[in-house]
């Protein structure tokens, strides 16, 4: 960002007097509670798959994610998830349901431009950067881990 001039600074000070800041602490508490509830539901789904299907604790993750994203899809389609998001903030954005919501909301939004250029082209408009930086971060972490193992730092 460019450096502010003195007059810009003085105006920004005036804005700050009148601005309504995000209630950060309250938002954190809401995010904690809602995020926790979403994760508890996810855990219940995992336990369900382990108890009633031939999954183990390691393999139950994939069907659980599928179920959670499916629920997020329904909530997004029925117009509930964006309201939950306004209330919960990071609490509903960080779990995998939030990732699902970002893909599905973009897919719904661009349906009017057709399936190929609309839905296909815009589906990952928001989630695309999550995937890119997720993969890049995983790549570098894997290199660091490999090097540490090679040097004998890690077991």
């Amino acid at each position: 960002m460019k450096k502010q001039t003195a007059s810009q600074k003085s105006y920004q000070d005036l804005v700050d007097v009148h601005d309504e800041k995000r209630p950060v602490l309250l938002n954190c508490i809401k995010a904690f509670v809602v995020g926790g509830i979403i994760c508890a539901i996810g855990q219940a789904v995992t336990v369900f798959f382990i108890l009633f299907f031939p999954f183990t604790e390691q393999t139950a993750g994939n069907p659980t994610v599928a179920v959670m994203v499916f629920i997020a899809m329904l909530l997004t389609g029925f117009g509930v998830y964006d309201r939950l998001g306004q209330f919960a903030g990071a609490g509903s954005a960080v779990p995998v349901t939030g990732f699902g919501n970002s893909v599905i909301s973009a897919a719904i939004e661009h349906r009017s431009e057709g399936y190929v250029l609309g839905v296909g082209g815009n589906m990952f408009k928001l989630a695309g950067s999550v995937i890119v930086f997720g993969v890049v971060a995983a790549f570098f972490l894997a290199i660091i881990k490999t090097l540490l193992i090679q040097w004998g730092v890690l077991g």
Binding site: M1, Q4, V15, V17, H18, E20, G85, Q86, S105, E109
Partner: protein, 347 residues
């Protein structure tokens, strides 16, 4: 005639009729009874939100033409705009009406840009009947400027809710069949002002200096002060921007009585509507001024008002490229029909 940089109209251009249509959310507005109608669905039986935006413009145009029982061919010029890329909803509505068309863009200040220009065209004798207005569609604007409508992102308390709706007015000279709802007295055209704010979720703060500048220049040009107006109403500064503007104007020596300095963005919705700081969008000022405020002028509850529409001239591209938000505001002075033309006087 001009006073400083303010246009003063001498041939009494007037607002003759209006058409105001809201969306489903606007139905719950405290002023919904004064609108000509509201749509029940955001889709409006169209297959995209952009087409719905076109639909609501067409419906407002049909309403105003129907009220005055005009032929569409009697419209000498159509001066309108909206927020969508290249203003296609308005252009497509203009295709339907097939009147000489000038597309306007001042973002949310388009309503008063259109009214000022229409008054000038009528005053100068170039047009008899001008149709002007502005519109916006919440979901179409969210899609273009922010996130998909169903995306669960959290908006800060300074964010505003874009109004779905369309407000249009017919400007011409008063006749016995078509008495004036209000006369357009003066107009001050805004300059683009940028005080360096760059938060697209706080447009009130970005637009406040532009509103302040145009109001200040209007008073100075015309040797008036706030007491010359019963009401000074801004477009969509909302809670935060309106407070800043009042502060800035106070520091320039202009003070207001209680209830004299208002904002359409604060009035459009009830407080419990969950719209953060208030309403925004070109339709916000167009709908409020062409329904509630004209009604007050017509009934004589207010005699003179200064209508100031405010617009943030940003695009998603400029804001992603860390450009600050340039803003504009246009002011139009309106007066009620009673003081200017005694009843029965030939228009």
């Amino acid at each position: 005639m001009t006073q400083g940089m303010t246009w003063t109209f001498t041939n009494k251009p007037a607002i003759l009729s209006t058409g105001v249509i809201g969306g489903p959310f606007e139905k719950k507005s405290p002023f919904a009874d004064l609108f000509d109608g509201c749509e029940d669905k955001l889709w409006m039986n169209e297959d995209s939100f952009e087409k719905a935006n076109r639909h609501i413009i067409e419906r407002a145009i049909d309403t105003v033409i129907g009220k005055m029982s005009l032929q569409p061919t009697a419209i000498d010029a159509l001066l309108m705009g909206d927020l969508i890329n290249q203003m296609t909803p308005t252009s497509l509505a203009a295709r339907t009406l097939a009147a000489p068309y000038l597309g306007l863009f001042s973002a949310c200040a388009t309503s008063m840009q259109g009214l000022a220009l229409s008054a000038a065209l009528v005053d100068g004798g170039f047009c008899k009947t001008v149709l002007t207005g502005a519109s916006s569609h919440n979901a179409a604007v969210e899609k273009q400027f922010r996130y998909p409508t169903e995306y669960g992102g959290q908006k800060p308390p300074s964010a505003q809710w874009t109004v779905t709706g369309s407000g249009v007015a017919i400007v011409g000279q008063e006749t016995p069949q078509h008495p004036a709802l209000a006369f357009i007295e003066k107009a001050t055209i805004g300059k683009v002002i940028d005080r360096g704010t760059n938060d697209p979720f706080n447009m009130g703060a970005a637009m406040a200096p532009a509103a302040t500048d145009v109001i200040d220049r209007h008073f100075q040009d015309t040797n008036q002060n706030p007491s010359d107006y019963d009401v000074i109403v801004t477009g969509d500064l909302a809670l935060i921007g309106h407070r800043i503007t009042e502060d800035l104007l106070n520091s320039k020596g202009w003070t207001f009585k209680e209830g004299q300095f208002l904002d359409c963005g604060k009035m459009m919705y009830v407080e419990s509507a969950g719209v953060q700081a208030g309403a925004s969008g070109p339709a916000c000022s167009a709908m409020m001024i062409y329904s509630h405020f004209l009604n007050e002028l017509k009934r004589g509850k207010i005699k003179k008002m200064l209508a100031v529409a405010t617009g943030a001239l940003l695009s998603p591209l400029t804001s992603q490229q860390s450009e600050t938000i340039p803003s504009i505001a246009h002011a139009v002075a309106l007066s009620g029909p009673t003081q200017n033309s005694p009843q029965g006087k030939e228009g």
